[in-house]
């Protein structure tokens, strides 16, 4: 893999103020355990008539995609690669409700047509008339990480020059109730939409470099320490959320390391959902770009990162089963 892979632009919609970085200086902290995304102003991005036909997740995905592309040097991406753990839940749920209430008659085609996971990635391609590579990953809490892995692999291998990578999940009120029963390790349930433009070449606006993306299944956590030897000088960004069952695998990892790393978190701000790791990626990229770390991202009691870090290693697990390790590096120090 001879090429390099850079982040050219990013955009987010979450429980923080959408399509901007106000969270960095004036974060919103919630006392509610379930908060939906703050809806963006779609004016200038989606026409009113188009917006009426789109579910929330589709509107958010289009808004982050268009915003990221506008902020980047790329007009037409070579690839559109999307992650979504649960897909278009709002439409799927409505179709299931109708199926339960009315039986197998008089169902609405639009709900079905916009219920598949790849509706999101396809809609972006249809709106842009983008005939490039188009793929969707749906693998629990590493859905974004899988989409990023695919884009990174193809850019590093020289198969594509750039990619629009995103991850989007919506959590309906009913899904939140189900998640409380089935995923007790979720603390603060939210929604997430993130889009990023990745490029092979470094440009004026380059945010940071994606050095490495690894996906692992049930790794031997004690053996992971070896994998992290090269991260001695790095800041680790972990998916800890304050729940013991969610945090235990991260703590085992830290216990096994032969050094004491500087550790950051993001879920206290951005919450939990299948696409949460995309917001961890987003926040890590911004930290590298801005060369500073907001105080609320430090773990309570942990040593603070003083200056802007040179590099961040993002560690994410889903149910302690599927893991991802993403290594990011500041561009000022990556030597051109």
């Amino acid at each position: 893999m001879a090429e390099r892979c850079f982040v050219d632009s990013l955009a987010q919609i979450s429980c923080q103020k959408p399509l901007c970085d106000e969270w960095f200086d004036t974060p919103c902290f919630y006392t509610d355990r379930y908060v939906r995304s703050v809806e963006p102003d779609v004016k200038g991005i989606i026409s009113a008539s188009e917006a009426r036909r789109m579910s929330r997740i589709l509107k958010r995905a289009v808004c982050t995609s268009v915003s990221a592309l506008r902020a980047s040097s790329v007009d037409m991406p070579d690839a559109v690669i999307t992650g979504t753990g649960a897909g278009c839940m709002e439409n799927s749920e409505k179709f299931l409700v109708d199926l339960g209430r009315f039986g197998e008659q008089c169902l609405k085609p639009t709900l079905f047509m916009q219920s598949t996971h790849n509706t999101i990635s396809s809609l972006i391609a249809i709106m842009m008339k983008c005939h490039g590579y188009n793929n969707t990953y749906s693998h629990k809490g590493i859905s974004f990480d899988s989409a990023l892995f695919d884009a990174w692999l193809q850019i590093r291998s020289g198969m594509i020059g750039n990619a629009l990578v995103g991850s989007h999940d919506e959590v309906t009120p009913f899904m939140e109730l189900v998640m409380r029963r089935t995923h007790p390790d979720c603390r603060f349930v939210t929604e997430a939409s993130v889009s990023a433009v990745l490029t092979r070449s470094r440009g004026e606006n380059t945010v940071c470099e994606v050095e490495d993306v690894k996906l692992l299944h049930k790794p031997d956590i004690s053996a992971l320490a070896d994998l992290f030897e090269e991260d001695r000088d790095r800041v680790l960004m972990l998916g800890v959320n304050g729940s013991e069952s969610n945090d235990a695998p991260y703590m085992s990892l830290l216990d096994g390391l032969r050094y004491r790393p500087l550790v950051l978190r993001y879920r206290n701000l951005f919450g939990d959902c299948f696409s949460a790791s995309a917001l961890g990626f987003y926040a890590s990229c911004r930290i590298l770009e801005r060369e500073s770390v907001p105080a609320f991202m430090h773990l309570p009691g942990a040593e603070h990162v003083s200056a802007g870090p040179e590099s961040v290693t993002l560690v994410n697990h889903s149910d302690g089963i599927d893991w991802s390790i993403v290594r990011l590096k500041r561009v000022a120090s990556c030597g051109g």
Partner: protein, 399 residues
């Protein structure tokens, strides 16, 4: 990036039966697996389907798996095919431990969701049915299939509707070429559900007779179900293991039609680009293609546009082509890998499956393979998979 990617294992279950041998026999004998619905709990018995002829209970018993897999048909089908693929490639536990598992699905555990959703919804997630909703997302299906097959190094799930399995194959091939892994078990699994049977019915594209792909009077799809996985491997790894090489994956491409969520463009732009780019990668010209296993769903729209895309490449001298959907039904997310297995069988046995049910051409000269299993030398085959949203992918397998 120069590493050649070869196929060293196959596993399949569909309406044609369980296993590669049963599948090959049915194809050679022209025996369709499409028939009346038996296992799916649906009011729509007017639509023929390509069901796997086993109940969940029978499959769970055969595979020796318990809760929650025993109630998840996509998982049961997947385990059956994945285990066959791993065994046929002769992978040891160590080999599996350094392999990737990439699986495509769209409905995942929707069959289980259907059984429990209304109860859970009406009770505000308070009923005992609610925890049943935890096992039904796409990623969960992949995890359960993989974990019942071996301890894989990593895994993920593609979900691009009817091209999901083809896109899983593409990711696996890219990983091998880049040297990330030497071996990848790739494919897809999808059970029939009320959700998508009714969904396709709302689009009015289900045929009440056995489907007739590429026939002038075709009226739609027969839905099917099944799973298939192939073992992809770097040629170097296959040689060092002394594994039998069944075929090579010489070309592939994914190109979005970018036209409509459920219809394809008139000139089949996405399909055209996918076939062209795949031939470029394989270093083949249109004349080198001996057989096209078409997506050929039997809908008026798909078959006309797929044919239009083929005409743009081959003009009036179309290669031999057929759709095997009248054998298996449209196995949606699994169709890419089910038909990949059929393509590899075509290369191994030098035959082309007939387009059963076909009577009249759509246009002059558009005549698919007819007559039981045309025997002829097959060197390079194209396998097309097109999904909703114009997610079009082409794979090329070669001797």
């Amino acid at each position: 990036m120069a590493e050649r990617v070869v196929v060293t294992g196959l596993g399949i279950v569909s309406a044609l039966g369980a296993g590669v041998d049963a599948t090959f026999r049915s194809l050679i004998n022209g025996e369709s697996g499409v028939g009346d619905v038996v296992h799916l709990d649906t009011a729509h018995d007017e639509f023929p389907v390509g069901e796997v002829a086993m109940s969940n209970q029978e499959m769970a018993q055969l595979l020796g798996v318990g809760y929650p897999s025993d109630g998840l048909r996509t998982v049961l089908l997947g385990i059956m095919a994945a285990r066959e693929a791993v065994a046929s490639a002769g992978l040891t536990a160590d080999d599996v431990g350094r392999s990737a598992f990439i699986s495509g699905t769209t409905v995942g555990g929707m069959d289980n969701t259907e059984r429990h959703f209304s109860d859970a919804y009406d009770s505000g997630a308070e009923s005992g049915s609610s925890p049943e909703l935890a096992y039904n997302d796409c990623g969960c299906s992949t995890r359960l299939i993989a974990e019942a097959t071996g301890d894989f190094l990593m895994m993920t799930t593609t979900s691009t509707a009817c091209s999901s399995a083809a896109n899983a194959i593409i990711l696996g091939a890219n990983m091998i070429k880049a040297g990330v892994v030497d071996i990848a078990v790739v494919g897809g699994s999808e059970a029939l559900t009320r959700f998508h049977l009714n969904g396709f019915n709302t689009l009015m594209i289900l045929d009440r007779e056995r489907c007739r792909p590429f026939d002038r009077d075709r009226t739609g799809i027969n839905l099917g179900e099944g799973a298939a996985y192939i073992v992809l491997e770097s040629e170097r790894s296959a040689k060092s293991r002394g594994a039998d090489v069944l075929a090579a994956l010489t070309g592939y491409a994914n190109s979005c039609d970018a036209f409509h969520q459920t219809a394809s463009s008139e000139n089949g732009e996405g399909a055209y680009l996918a076939m062209c780019k795949a031939m470029d990668m394989a270093g083949l010209t249109p004349g080198d293609i001996d057989y096209v296993n078409a997506h050929g769903t039997g809908t008026p729209n798909n078959d006309a546009t797929e044919l239009a895309a083929m005409r743009r490449i081959w003009n009036d001298s179309l290669p031999c082509f057929s759709s095997t959907k009248a054998f298996t039904g449209h196995t949606t997310s699994a169709s890419g890998s089910i038909e990949a297995v059929i393509c590899v069988l075509s290369l191994i046995h030098d035959f082309m499956p007939e387009n059963i049910g076909w009577v009249n051409p759509i246009a002059e000269g558009a005549v698919p393979v007819t007559g039981a299993a045309a025997r002829r030398r097959v060197r390079n085959v194209i396998n097309n998979s097109f999904g909703f949203g114009g997610n079009d992918s082409t794979l090329i397998f070669s001797k």
